[in-house]
């Protein structure tokens, strides 16, 4: 029983972090058909900005978190104007933007390596204390992460469902041409989505670094897992991605306990391949009919 509580607690924390990282990716893919390979680097950047704001600039943690989110939103906008906008006018957008963001991600990552050095740094934004359920001690940090993640998810859901900007985003991801014909400014939607995704990446970077440590390459692993979540859920399906993220977090915690940490990623991947053979468009994805 205690073991079960332990697995569920750490699985939910993992899942919540993946979900926040995944929502941004999924929104961007849904509206632009763009796989943002710089997402991991933006995530790391968010963690470092929070660290720098608290340690070097002496800001209060309650200011550092939104500050990091704002700066990363600006980076998202920058990617839109410098890479996505010119590439959207050319052919092969999906392939080209993928390669371009690999390059941009490498630039950001190596700038952080130059600026902060390769050694792991602890994230100062941390909550002390423990929550005791039965015989299991759960760090308050994990509860905090879960709370922030839930709040963000609710906020994104409200944004998507209840505001006109959210309606425009959903319309664009359903059918770009029809949305444009109905007067949706698609360019503005793209910019908003990339900024939102940057902000979400920053928050998830801060959360991830607060239970691990800050290193310039820490974004790669969560990004890959976020992509796996996206793929399992069906690229571009935001709500499916949240469900899949939490399911994969629980599964990862369980495999880590049963088989050891070393096999958890391989098990995840095996599962993804099986899911994709069974449903090539993801669990919640709709099969797209291609008309020639």
């Amino acid at each position: 029983m205690d073991v079960l509580i332990q697995i569920v607690a750490s699985g939910l924390t993992l899942g919540a972090m993946y979900a926040v990282a995944t929502i941004g990716l999924s929104l961007v893919y849904g509206s632009l058909n763009m796989l943002n390979m710089a997402h991991g680097a933006i995530l790391t950047l968010g963690g470092y900005i929070c660290y720098a704001a608290i340690v070097h600039a002496g800001l209060h943690p309650a200011l550092a978190l939104p500050g990091a989110a704002l700066i990363c939103a600006a980076v998202g906008l920058l990617i839109y104007f410098s890479a996505a906008l010119p590439l959207l006018r050319a052919e092969n957008f999906e392939t080209n933007i993928f390669i371009a963001t690999i390059g941009i991600g490498s630039v950001i990552e190596n700038l952080m390596l130059k600026g902060f050095g390769p050694y792991p740094i602890p994230q100062p934004l941390a909550v002390d204390g423990q929550l005791v359920i039965g015989n299991v001690h759960i760090p308050l940090q994990n509860v905090f992460i879960l709370g922030v993640a839930l709040m963000l998810m609710v906020a994104v859901a409200v944004l998507l469902q209840r505001t006109s900007a959210g309606r425009a985003i959903r319309a664009t991801s359903m059918n770009r041409d029809a949305a444009q014909l109905m007067g949706v400014r698609v360019g503005r939607v793209y910019a908003q989505v990339l900024a939102l995704s940057g902000a979400l990446a920053a928050v998830s970077g801060i959360m991830i670094s607060s239970i691990a440590t800050l290193t310039p390459v820490m974004g790669g692993d969560p990004m890959l897992k976020a992509f796996i979540v996206c793929v399992v859920a069906g690229l571009g399906n935001v709500y499916g991605a949240v469900v899949a993220a939490i399911a994969l977090g629980l599964l990862e915690a369980a495999t880590q306990y049963v088989f050891g940490v070393r096999w958890s990623f391989a098990m995840l991947l095996l599962l993804v391949i099986l899911v994709l053979i069974w449903r090539p468009f993801g669990l919640f994805g709709k099969q797209q009919v291609v008309r020639l």
């Binding site: 796989l35 050319a90 080209n96 390669i99 390059g103 991600g105 992509f227 793929v231």
Partner: protein, 322 residues
């Protein structure tokens, strides 16, 4: 002059220059760096077939390269297979692994393929690096795949014994021969039936498919061909450096190679070779600035994709403005 004659002519000229190089510039550094260039050029030329011609967005090429290198090393280390037999066997092993990856990925759409192949490469890396159990204890504890330190002492193709002081020149010519073969195969694939099938699928997918051209079948073929030569290149890499470690999975190497293809020109015959040469030279010229290497590579990659998506090759073949 037909396209294929022009390709053969360019190829022969390049080959002649490369054959003459060790005679003109016999410095050991230049020769060994050129050998390394040949190895990366083989990988890049074969990757270009998958990426540019087949339209398969696979990032598994370095995983296939590693498969070839590791297969060669392990055949030599565990079964004492002579290297001359081990390298072709490693090529076949790589084809088998490539076919498995292809079967898992090729029914998916572009971005799914990219992510899945990237994840497969990452899993291979993690499994090799995190393996700390002793598989064998001859000469110290070693995990099955060599762990972080990699595998060494698996034999040689015999050129070091044959030319004790000039073995690096011998390796240069072996690398050159392999590259020439890889380029010849790439010309055959691009100008031959496979290339035609893909061009038909790109120009008019509906017509091509109704004439019975199966995208999946041809993609699997091109994947297998490119896997074979990539595996051979991996095997030669293993023999040349006498050790295989998990560094072949490194992201900066992947970045370096994909930048070669993009800068040279995706989908063309000579573009990737040109890109490989340019980047190797640039890397050499900016050795003091090595801290900024990955920043520069990333910038180059992004700028080329955005501003010159056809690469240097497209720039060379641009139509004169009227």
């Amino acid at each position: 002059m037909t396209a294929i004659r022009r390709d053969i002519l360019i190829g022969l000229v390049c080959l002649a220059i490369a054959i003459a190089l060790p005679i003109v510039m016999p410095g050991r550094y230049i020769i060994t760096q050129s050998t390394l260039f040949f190895i990366w050029a083989i990988v890049v030329v074969q990757w270009n077939l998958v990426l540019g011609i087949g339209g398969i967005f696979s990032l598994a090429q370095m995983a296939l390269f590693a498969t070839g290198a590791y297969a060669t090393a392990m055949l030599g280390f565990y079964w004492k297979v002579p290297m001359l037999a081990a390298i072709p066997m490693a090529g076949l092993v790589t084809v088998a692994v490539g076919m498995l990856i292809g079967l898992a990925c090729l029914r998916l759409r572009g971005p799914y393929v990219a992510l899945l192949t990237l994840a497969i490469a990452q899993v291979m890396y993690v499994l090799i690096v995190n393996d700390t159990g002793c598989f064998t204890t001859t000469g110290g504890c070693m995990p099955l795949f060599g762990g972080v330190r990699g595998i060494g002492q698996f034999g040689d193709i015999g050129l070091r014994a044959l030319f004790p002081s000039k073995w690096y020149i011998a390796h240069y010519y072996v690398g050159l021969a392999l590259l020439a073969l890889a380029v010849a195969i790439s010309i055959v694939v691009i100008r031959g039936p496979l290339g035609l099938a893909f061009r038909a699928l790109r120009d008019n997918p509906g017509y091509a498919m109704s004439r019975g051209i199966s995208r999946f079948k041809y993609q699997l073929w091109i994947f297998a061909v490119s896997a074979f030569f990539t595996g051979i290149a991996g095997g030669f890499y293993a023999v040349h450096f006498r050790v295989v470690g998990p560094t072949v999975f490194s992201f900066s190497l992947l970045l370096f190679l994909i930048a070669m293809i993009v800068i040279g020109g995706l989908g063309s015959i000579w573009g990737p070779l040109l890109g490989a040469a340019v980047l190797m030279l640039a890397d050499e010229g900016m050795r003091e600035l090595s801290d900024y290497r990955n920043i520069g590579l990333g910038l180059l990659l992004a700028v080329f994709v955005i501003a010159w998506p056809n690469g240097l090759n497209g720039w060379l073949q641009r139509k004169p403005a009227r």
